[in-house]
Symmetry: C2
Subunit: 334 residues, 2 copies
């Protein structure tokens, strides 16, 4: 299996066309395609073009409404409430980012919740867009159940990503983007496919015992990063992303992968801060001082540094798509 | 060494009087005393009366201005910026909570930053007060350097607490309160006093190598919870609490314990959300559903459950203060 080179424009056009063939409107297809191509550029393949087959099947089956138009259903001061209308998350985030950018400029802070939502890909993609407008951004999302309450054995919470971005002078935003599981479930799937054991500490079996058997892990739950403290953060994100927004909790949400069943209906919370107001004007200079202090140490790099290098390479050379995936995409484009 | 029982009123009066004798105004002394007694009630002794000797010495030396009056120095839409004026953090938080409660009711979301601030004790204490007014609260703080950037060996960031609280129907708020170090530095100090090794994974020596020697650990850095992901969260909190507020970063902040040197000048960020607005009204019911789902599992308890039990006991029986500490407090009260 070799990789095939595709220009960014070719990749985006291919994805847009596939979604249009699968009951997704052009406008929504464009939002989805841009986000997936951006993830692929960043080397985040789990949130990139590998999602096209499952996303498009969900649009075709109606589990995702590919023609949904997200709307602001509530507005109060510096807060907006957005109904993603069981469509893709990306059009709803586009609306949220537009609203937040305007509101935060006037109110210093702005918050948007999104409900009846879906997989929102790289959490950092959305945070970064706010930071490109000069705002500090914080994003929380929930996802279908994967993590048990600390001490338990049944999945209640998702892997619940957190993303943070801050604008920098003469550089791309500083970006932090992580899910709260110790490792991604995808790594366990890869181990299962390769017939290899997983390290102790990644997952529990369905009785709540630590396991190195990937099949037992996939029937069980993923461990949170940071043990009990991490499990508390998972609960916190679950309440902020799904409880606050009025969305489905992890244990109620259907899969982001299969085309069957009702929509997942998960939720997200996005915050935007005007750093100039809060800092009294010194934010940019102070952030650079902190980051300089960090990188004076040997063996230290800033979060997101690898991602930036991969993105630059993709800008110059296009994308390398596994030929098996490209065959699948070409089949979907018929 | 035995514990001595003290009623809550006796404890508060004693602390107030000590601070008044050490250049702290009555009003500020009362804010500090209430917070320290509350921490002691919750069994959080590291943030309780054990802080009275070092706090009062700092007020006496002028490192903390015990007579400072915190003020709102900036106001914009749903955001306020508070100068703690190098006084204790508690009076500034009282002002922040009062402002946030009013603003969040009207604007859906409200944010306050605090700068020229000091140790703010239990982060959850402040979050809980907002939740008692029906708001969902999120609190971030930075603290003097203790944690290195991931891969490094010099402390840059504090242990950077995060607290979250949500109002419950017919119950005290749900409370999550954690610092981002794997364990508190106080545990290393106890091991050093007892001449015992510390477990692998708690701390690094000054060369950045893992150590089980508590003295080497105290000259080195504490490890973050959750390894590299946790280290990224530490950076995120550092930027939100200190970068956004215009405060000192961990590596610039003086000790919260010693009476020498300039004020620590750390920062905090406090957010308050109106859950009724964001959820479309269903928040309370949905939160109870989630918490019920969690506690149906064996061996699982909600975060803060132990704290609640200790608090109830203290309400009924008063506080048990180690006699050595009480002797010290009585000496300070002369």
């Amino acid at each position: 299996m070799t990789d095939v080179a595709l220009s960014l424009a070719e990749a985006q056009d291919l994805v847009v066309t596939i979604f249009e063939r699968h009951q997704t409107s052009f406008e929504n297809a464009l939002h989805v395609a841009k986000a997936l191509v951006a993830a692929e550029m960043d080397g985040q393949r789990g949130h990139g073009l590998s999602r096209v087959p499952s996303y498009s099947a969900q649009s075709a089956s109606g589990k995702v409404d590919g023609k949904a138009i997200p709307i602001v259903v509530g507005r109060k001061g510096a807060a907006v409430r957005i109904d993603a209308a069981n469509g893709f998350a990306y059009p709803a985030f586009d609306l949220a980012i537009s609203e937040l950018t305007t509101i935060a400029r006037g109110a210093g802070i702005a918050a948007a919740t999104v409900f009846r939502s879906h997989h929102f890909g790289q959490a950092g993609y959305h945070a970064e867009r706010l930071a490109e407008s000069g705002l500090v951004a914080l994003v929380f999302g929930n996802s279908p159940q994967a993590i048990a309450p600390w001490g338990g054995n049944k999945g209640v919470f998702g892997t619940n990503p957190i993303a943070f971005a801050a604008p920098r002078v003469d550089d791309v935003p500083l970006l932090i983007d992580l899910s709260l599981s110790k490792v991604a479930r995808g790594k366990v799937m890869v181990a299962q496919q390769n017939g290899e054991p997983i390290p102790e500490g990644w997952a529990l079996d369905e009785s709540g015992h630590s396991t190195t058997d990937p099949s037992a892990a996939l029937n069980g739950t993923m461990l949170p990063m940071g043990d009990a403290k991490g499990a508390a953060l998972v609960l916190m994100v679950e309440i902020m992303a799904a409880g606050l927004s009025g969305a489905n909790f992890g244990y109620e949400a259907t899969s982001f992968f299969t085309a069957e069943g009702p929509p997942p209906g998960v939720g997200q919370l996005v915050l935007a801060f005007d750093p100039t107001f809060f800092s009294g004007g010194g934010f940019s200079v102070r952030l650079e001082e902190l980051l300089s202090e960090i990188v004076t140490q040997d063996n230290v790099r800033l979060p997101g540094a690898l991602r930036g290098a991969r993105r630059e390479k993709a800008r110059q050379e296009g994308l390398c798509i596994p030929s098996k995936l490209l065959d699948e995409l070409n089949t979907l484009n018929q």
